[in-house]
Amino acid sequence: MALYHRHSALNTMIVERSYSVAKSGRRKSLYGRGNTGAGAAVLFLVILGLLLPGCGLIFDAVELAYPLTRDELSTICAKRQIRVGISVEPFRPFVFSAIYTNEGVRVTGLDVELIREVADALTEHCGGQQPIVPTLHLVRFRDLFLELNEEHLDLFVSSFSGNVPGGTPTGLWLSIPYFHGAGVGAMTHDPEIVEKVRAQFRKQTGRTDTLAAIQEGLSGLTVAVQNRRTPHLYAEANLRNIRLMVCDSLPAAVETKDPHIDVILTQYPILQYVTKRVWPDWQLLERPDGSPLILSRESFSIVTGEQKRRLQWFLNNLLYRLEESGRLAQMRKRWLEEEYAPTRRATNEGLPFEVSKVPDHYDQGQCRMAGGR
């Protein structure tokens, strides 16, 4: 459609030009230099000019059948780089905080390893002569969507889940999952809250109703979520009797002392990692039998713009192949189960990022009370 408008504008210019030619032709005849051949040519151009606006539609139709412009994969091959957005807020173990290494600043994590796989596959797709370099843009999570919509990025990978109502902004497309088994989890540093939630499950006779148990268990408590992440949407939709705090990042939620935060909701695998390795004084909410308490089911996908069909198929086929070969399972095991030091992995396998594309003085931000609660 945009193309059509562009052609229409071009046609208008041609019409205007034809009109001026016609005017000049008329001027010539007024000066008594009548020339029927020139007059016919002018007339022809005027008629052609009037017909041209319809050509935009014809061009669009031809473009649909036989693309004349370069597709996004060819552009990536030609530029030998893929622009990837990644959240500046750490979602360990998917994305760790940027770290300084002997090679300069680097980021690492499961999502970063996946970006490497995408770049390697693109290198192969583009002939393998020269590597396709992933250019990482560390962007605040809330800005990733804007950056993608404005075509500053080819894709983003940030443990993003779209299978939640309201989770995917319009104009974006989600790949098949690269990480299954995620979902909203909860952590607290108060053992009484752990017990309160368990008690709600124990009260239920017969059929287990997780939503009812969590609604009752968290009733009256202050619950923190990260702005625009799926737990935020979950809490807004399902948890009525809570004081909801919306935070800029997970570390901000952990650090907030006033008001006192009772429970933090975020993606379960992230909570699993941070309660074990980063904030051991926080504990996961669990079911009475000690099994994981996951409030919803989510899977993480790569995100691209809606129109990028060739890139989308490329990504889906790649993810399918990585799942089929066991590579994705291996990656999940490496980052979620193995003992490792992120700094060392950042040094050995981390990716650099565009220093000019990161926010100045990244701050983990703050928390504020959600409106109307």
Binding site: P90, S97, A98, I99, Y100, T101, N102, E103, G104, V105, L138, S249, P251, A252, E255, Y340, A341, P342, T343, R344, R345, A346, T347, V355, V358, H361, Y362, D363, Q364
Partner: protein, 248 residues
């Protein structure tokens, strides 16, 4: 044996012709050696400043740390002056021309490293960021080497960073230094028929280094590497410099 008369006449002329060259070569060599010494000192000064501000850099409570490139440069110039009596902003006339040319390049390279690390340094909520003397030194030396004909690197016998692996010469020098007391000065030699100056200046472990490099041996430190069980004063590694005689 009596020398022919013509030879007695020619020899003084030959000596007179060669003497300026020999003298010039000698002064070039001396200038290169002094330049290597000053370059090593300046890299060490940068490492010292990073070490001195390590608690600030690793403070998780603070966002903007104020450890800016300008701040670093001011501190480096002051500390270099304290150690050498040379003001990098107004280099004295007697400073070798080579040093006058290369010291600003190293200072700028070091400042660029601090500039590149600003995002990492100023993250709030993150404690250890791995911006330490070793990583600073590796990057500063690499940036400097890419901008001059002089090769500079940090090296050690068992490096954590494979790019710091010693070459044959450095390995020999490091083994020699390891066998000597910790007050030993640099190993300095002219190689390739006197065309290349090589200096290997030792770095010894201080108490601060032992958090990661000391005991308990074999356990993982904060960055995920095995502690080496080093003691204060042990040889940590060296700063290696190669200067070709025909530099620049």
């Amino acid at each position: 044996m009596k020398l022919p008369a013509w030879l007695l006449i020619v020899l003084p002329f030959v000596y007179l012709l060669l003497w300026p060259d020999l003298g010039l070569a000698q002064s070039h060599r001396e200038a290169s050696e002094r330049t290597a010494h000053y370059l090593t000192t300046l890299l060490n000064v940068g490492r010292l400043i990073v070490e001195r501000h390590q608690p600030l850099i690793n403070d998780p409570q603070k966002g903007d740390k104020g450890f800016t490139p300008d701040f670093f440069e001011r501190e480096a110039v002051e500390e270099f002056f304290r150690q050498t009596s040379i003001d990098l902003k107004r280099p004295p006339a007697q400073l070798p021309a080579l040093a006058k040319e290369l010291l600003p390049i190293l200072l700028e390279s070091s400042t660029h490293v601090v500039a590149d690390a600003q995002f990492v340094i100023n993250q709030r909520g993150i404690g250890y960021k791995n911006f330490i003397p070793a990583t600073f030194g590796s990057q500063a030396a690499r940036k400097f080497s890419s901008r001059s004909q002089v090769k500079m690197k940090q090296t050690t016998l068992n490096p954590r960073n494979v790019k710091n692996q010693p070459d044959t010469y450095e390995e020999r020098a490091l083994k020699q230094l390891a066998a000597q007391p910790s007050s030993t000065g640099p190993v300095t030699e002219w190689l390739d028929d006197g065309k290349t100056l090589r200096t290997v200046t030792p770095i010894y472990y201080s108490q601060d280094c032992l958090v990661c490099h000391g005991d308990p041996t074999g356990t993982l430190d904060i960055s995920g590497y095995l502690r080496e069980g080093a003691k204060e004063g042990d040889l940590a590694g060296a700063i290696s410099i190669q200067i070709p005689l025909n530099n620049p």
